[in-house]
Amino acid sequence: MEIILEADHLRKDFGGLIAVEDVSLKVRAGSLHSIIGPNGAGKTTLFNLLSGVFKPTTGRVIYRGRDITAQPPHRIAHLGIGRSYQITNVFPNLSVFENVRLSAQAMGRDNWNLFAPASRFKKYADRAHHIVEQVGLKGKGDLLASVLPHGDKRKLELGILLASDPQVLLLDEPTAGMASEQVPQLMALIAEVRKESNKTILLVEHNMDVVMNVSDAITVMHYGKVLAEGTPVQVGANDQVQKAYLGELYK
């Protein structure tokens, strides 16, 4: 399978702190690739590098064979790489519907239009209605995002991402803080999206059951480096991973 997204020896220093020391990673098109590792392993920093929020100290990000390291985040979004956030990151005083509609609008060509009401652009509204329903927020479209309970905010977070119809979805702990009974529902939704349109998903997740069940490939990060990589079975059997991550987790 074709490699859609590649991290090539990425390194990111913050002053004296090395958040990501040396990460190389190849994500195959259409795969679900998980990144696991203890807190502070550099997973979120890696996402910030891939989505252009941070520029790496050294190394490159390659998307569909093209070096996108120097591209600003909004350009990377337009190229087809979208992300969600570990800490809910929505537009608090806009309605749920408007949160999602804006994300659909962002991908269109009408953003500079000043002289027509946004509601007249049906395609974005239609897409937003569809997505709001898809992520399970039907009937809550008119609520302000800020008043949603945590679980619904996580769904909205995903809805904002889906509305822009990215090719590659960077999901940073999509189930973080969710009630455990809601987790399978969200993962089913992610699986559905993936099957529907052959998306590539790069997933950061702490829930090992989830990761082991759904991933095609897993990369284990530890102190800013790649500790191991492989299929769930290979990674699960890896001694180093047991010691550094799984062992530490269950100490």
Binding site: P73, E98, L114, F115, I160
Partner: protein
């Protein structure tokens, strides 16, 4: 969303009241429109209309895009001085001068926006303050006295008789009112447009707006340009009203006034800052009339009380209360029907 006449009713009533006002005052005082209180009150309201547009332009940045500026007077002053210089010294006709002011303000706000919008929050505010201070020093400088009149200001701007406020006050009243209404409608259109929605996204969460694919710097520059043009047009109308342009138009105090009007009226509500302009201007006038020079102290107290008890401004707090009342009413109705 469709709207019924009822939703527009308060606006239509306000407009009707403002149309009738000069004639009503003239009728009540028994004076003709061009004499005494009837004449004077029109002047007071003309200033309200001009400041309402200026406050509204400020709120495009503050309330709709979430940008705090301390240098907005720069655009107001630019409009005033550009009109004075172009009409008085370059002998341009008024319509051409106004078109030129639109271009000048667009360029000016583009350059300032591009240079300073890379920094955020209070840092942006300080950069804009620096730009406005430079402009203030320039118009007060004796080096350009032949054009700006330095500290005295530029006086004797020739305005065509038909709309000269000294001759045809009532005509100018309706010109200023029409201007305010037109800008109100235009800003409403902008705020509801796709671009206006992007501004709201930036106000709510700029980082996320970037991550879903908006070039937020470009949209902030767009908002700054529109805001700058409208402020300059308000400044130009102010120069026509005073037949002069003075350094006061460029002062930081002028920006602070816009900020106060926006906060008192309700930022991000469109009509709010315009009402705020009315409240501030009329309150200032009457407090000064009744209390003399201590009026500013009293106004300061009123302002503190407003911020404490009307935290979202007059219009903003009204809308929040309205939602509360509706929720309370529904809750009550639900109980009764059980």
């Amino acid at each position: 969303m469709t709207k019924s006449i009822r939703d527009h009713l308060p606006y239509l009533l306000l407009l009707a009241a403002l149309v009738v006002l000069p004639f009503a005052i003239s009728f009540l005082t028994g004076e003709p429109l061009n004499k005494g209180i009837a004449l004077f009150s029109q002047g007071l309201m003309i200033q309200v209309f001009i400041l309402a547009v200026f406050a509204l332009s400020y709120d495009i940045l503050m309330g709709h895009t979430g940008i705090l500026s301390f240098g907005h007077a720069l655009f107001f002053g630019t409009g005033a001085y550009a009109l004075g210089i172009l009409v008085k010294y370059a002998h341009w006709s008024l319509p051409v001068a106004i078109l030129a002011i639109i271009v000048i303000a667009a360029l000016e706000s583009f350059v300032i926006g591009i240079l300073s919008l890379r920094v955020h929050g209070v840092y942006f505010a300080m950069v804009t303050l620096a730009f406005a201070t430079v402009a203030f020093i320039l118009v007060e400088a004796t080096d350009f006295k032949q054009w700006t009149g330095a500290e005295d200001g530029l006086h004797g701007i020739p305005v065509p008789d038909a709309i000269n406020p000294a001759i045809h006050r009532t005509e100018f009243y309706f010109l200023a009112l029409a201007f305010a209404v037109a800008i109100f409608l235009l800003v409403k259109l902008f705020v509801d447009s796709p671009s206006g929605r992007v501004w709201a996204a930036i106000r709510e969460n700029e980082a996320r707006a970037t991550s879903i694919g908006f070039n937020t710097l470009a949209f902030k520059v767009q908002a700054t340009i529109i805001s700058g043009i409208i402020a300059a047009l308000a400044g130009a109308l102010n120069a026509m009203w005073n037949l002069s342009a003075t350094p006061q138009t460029m002062e930081v105090g002028t920006t602070i006034n816009a900020l106060l009007m926006t906060i008192i009226g309700g930022s991000g509500t469109i009509i709010g800052p315009m009402l705020g302009a009315g409240v501030l201007q009329l309150l200032g006038y009457f407090l000064n009339l009744w209390l003399g020079s201590i009026w500013q102290l009293v106004f300061g107290l009123i302002y503190i009380l407003l911020v404490l008890f009307v935290p979202y401004g007059i219009v903003g707090t009204w809308r929040v209360k309205q939602l509360d009342w509706r929720a309370a009413w529904r809750a009550r109705f639900a109980r009764v029907s059980k």
